[in-house]
């Protein structure tokens, strides 16, 4: 089933939200208004938004430290993200998690600090879904860099062995932290590894949010129907550095120039315009709205209450007496 006009508009709006929020985070860092460094996903918004599009509210999502994309994609509110980033008492993780965003209502566990530690956790949420017959799919969103962690192997192995409802969504953004993928991989792609576990896989153009959405939808449907895991690899390019204080200098200028011409937001605008879904005016209006929402939520988050000293000892155990 093809994507509807409303869906495409929504995907675009979310990509825009991600772009504007990350630009805002960079500005806040520059002006010293936020302490938390940024790991931006500029240029790969179509992947983060496209992969989360087919998920239902109850499905599990394991996201990454790279920007806000998949969290906005699954429906997290910009306010909840800022509250976490500013370390505010009213944040969902109660001022404990910073960039490790998590949202119980949306079944998004916190992002792990050590890359790939959640590979097996995702197998676990999928295992529980199968045991409890809940119809939930787990989407494990991961970069190609993390796919070299040791736990990638037993996790994919168990997912296939037990025929679990899980999609491994690999965002190949060409960089593993401060290195080109070619310094970490003897192969061009991650996807062929899936065959070793008898997991079907597909490689998808990652700049086209519609293509990302549709490929992921197919994989999610496959997993939900009880046929077991699926791996999709999305090819994109990280236009941002690994993190905001990154020394840089390792990205070839030619690559930046070439991929700048393939910006996922611009491509989507073209599509919306070609299909006469949105006019140029509509797009500008949407940008203003998103910008205003981001500014409003930042202000709201900044004025939210800070944690109190007692919060330091809250929620270590179920009972406070144990500490």
């Amino acid at each position: 089933m093809a994507i509807t006009n409303e869906q495409l508009t929504d995907l675009y709006r979310k990509m825009l939200m991600v772009r504007v929020m990350e630009e805002m985070h960079a500005k806040l860092l520059q002006s010293g208004q936020i302490e938390l460094m940024g790991h931006f996903g500029t240029g790969q918004e179509a992947v983060a938004i496209g992969v989360t599009g087919p998920l239902s509210r109850d499905d599990f999502l394991f996201g990454t430290h790279r920007g806000v994309g998949e969290f906005i994609g699954k429906g997290m509110s910009p306010l909840n993200i800022w509250l976490e980033y500013f370390g505010k008492r009213t944040s969902l993780c109660k001022a404990k998690s910073a960039l490790h965003l998590g949202d119980r209502q949306l079944n998004i566990p916190p992002v792990v600090s050590s890359l790939g530690s959640d590979f097996s956790m995702a197998v676990g949420t999928a295992l529980a879904a199968k045991m409890r017959k809940t119809d939930q799919v787990t989407l494990y969103y991961v970069g190609e860099g993390t796919c070299n962690q040791a736990d990638a192997h037993p996790s994919m192995n168990m997912a296939s062995l037990w025929k679990l409802p899980i999609v491994f969504a690999v965002c190949t953004n060409q960089f593993c932290e401060l290195s080109y993928m070619s310094e970490h991989y003897p192969t061009k792609d991650v996807a062929p590894r899936a065959a070793a576990y008898n997991i079907p896989s597909e490689i998808v153009e990652g700049q086209d949010v519609e293509a990302v959405y549709e490929a992921t939808k197919k994989a999610v449907d496959h997993a939900r129907s009880g046929k077991g895991p699926y791996l999709v690899e999305y090819k994109t390019f990280r236009m941002a550095m690994h993190y905001s204080g990154d020394p840089g200098g390792y990205v070839k200028p030619d690559d930046l120039e070439a991929w700048a011409k393939r910006d996922p937001l611009e491509q989507c605008v073209k599509k919306l315009s070609d299909r006469t879904i949105l006019s140029e005016q509509d797009v500008l209006k949407m940008r203003d709205e998103v910008q205003a929402e981001v500014e409003r939520t930042v202000r709201e988050a900044m004025s939210a209450p800070d944690p109190i000293p007692e919060d330091l000892y809250e929620h270590v155990y179920a009972s406070k007496e144990v500490i």
């Binding site: 998690s97 998590g102 566990p109 050590s114 530690s117 097996s120 037993p154 168990m158 179920a318």
Partner: protein, 327 residues
């Protein structure tokens, strides 16, 4: 009505009872359908392969799988065959499991119980013999349990499975392979965390002996009685939370403290309890605290060397004599 069962049967009963009571409880681990040491033997007949889940050999990943299952409504009881292998899962246990409730702001409690076999005496050398409980003391969010009797093994494991916190239950191989017996009620019971057991009352020296060392301490008590020294033997039963009140009420009475563990002394439970004593209970002490534990060497394979390595009754007797010297 109490009857006599062994340590393995106690664990097996606790697992079966909790699985009957709560459909979200399941057993997961390497070869749990057979049960390498026998704790999980026979469960698959009653509960089926879905709830007694054999896994590939991948300690870190199966710990993560258990944690994920706990995040989605299950209560896994994970077996890590040897505690030495839990070092392969240190990322999952210490970075993730212990800290998950906190980092998620109480959104994602992870009720995982890990059972693991500790201890030496079976000539299995460095990687199948260690007591590594102290490795986990530094991690917030974990409950650490070390039952020494069938009664405690059953009651504490049931509490662990019902707990909303991650719990590690350390089972000493001498209690497993030795099929140590004890009285266990027919009726349902659980044992709360943080309540030590006084194994023997005494007035001269407090000996805190964790896990299997309790038996060595009771042996030492008999020998010391011949010298007119009356020791009190306390089994903490849970290392975290620690029953500070029972331990130091005893020290207030005796004025002397020995801590005995099979793990290595450096940075161990003895070091922690000795630090508590000097920080908060210094005025109770009539003599310096003594630690009994393994030396800072790997566990050797030779029977001759392993016997030298393992702290035992004699080491406790000597430590007690050091604290009563000068009386």
């Amino acid at each position: 009505m109490a009857r006599t069962i062994n340590y393995l049967q106690a664990i097996n009963e606790a697992l079966a009872e909790e699985m009957r009571r709560d459909a979200s409880v399941f057993v997961i681990g390497e070869d749990v359908r057979v049960g390498v040491f026998g704790q999980t033997a026979g469960l698959v007949q009653e509960f089926g392969e879905d709830r007694i889940l054999n896994t590939p050999i991948a300690e870190n990943a199966i710990t993560g799988v258990s944690m994920g299952a706990a995040m989605n409504g299950m209560r896994p009881v994970l077996e890590i065959m040897f505690c030495d292998f839990s070092m392969l899962a240190m990322d999952q246990i210490c970075n993730q499991l212990g800290q998950w409730r906190y980092v998620s702001g109480n959104q994602f409690p992870v009720p995982v119980t890990i059972r693991t076999a500790i201890g030496g005496g079976f000539r299995m050398a460095y990687g199948h013999s260690q007591c590594l409980e102290s490795q986990f003391i530094q991690t917030p969010g974990l409950i650490l349990v070390e039952p020494a009797t069938p009664y405690d093994a059953k009651g504490l494991l049931k509490t662990a499975i019902r707990s909303d916190d991650p719990v590690i239950v350390f089972e000493h191989k001498k209690l497993i392979f030795g099929a140590v017996e004890g009285e266990v009620p027919e009726e349902e019971y659980t044992i709360p965390f943080g309540e030590a057991a006084i194994r023997k009352e005494g007035k001269d020296v407090t000996v805190v002996a964790v896990g299997f060392m309790g038996y060595e301490a009771l042996g030492a008590a008999q020998e010391l009685a011949g010298d007119g020294i009356d020791i009190e033997v306390i089994d903490p039963r849970t290392i975290v939370p620690l029953d500070e009140k029972t331990i130091f009420s005893s020290v207030e009475k005796t004025g002397r403290l020995v801590v005995a563990e099979e793990g290595r002394v450096r940075g161990g439970l003895g070091a922690e309890i000795a630090a508590m004593a000097s920080e908060n209970y210094f005025s109770f002490l009539k003599a310096p605290v003594q630690r009994v534990g393994a030396p800072m060497v790997p566990v050797p394979g030779s029977p001759v060397l392993e016997d030298l390595y393992l702290p035992d009754k004699d080491a406790i007797v000597q430590a007690v004599k050091r604290v009563v010297q000068g009386d």
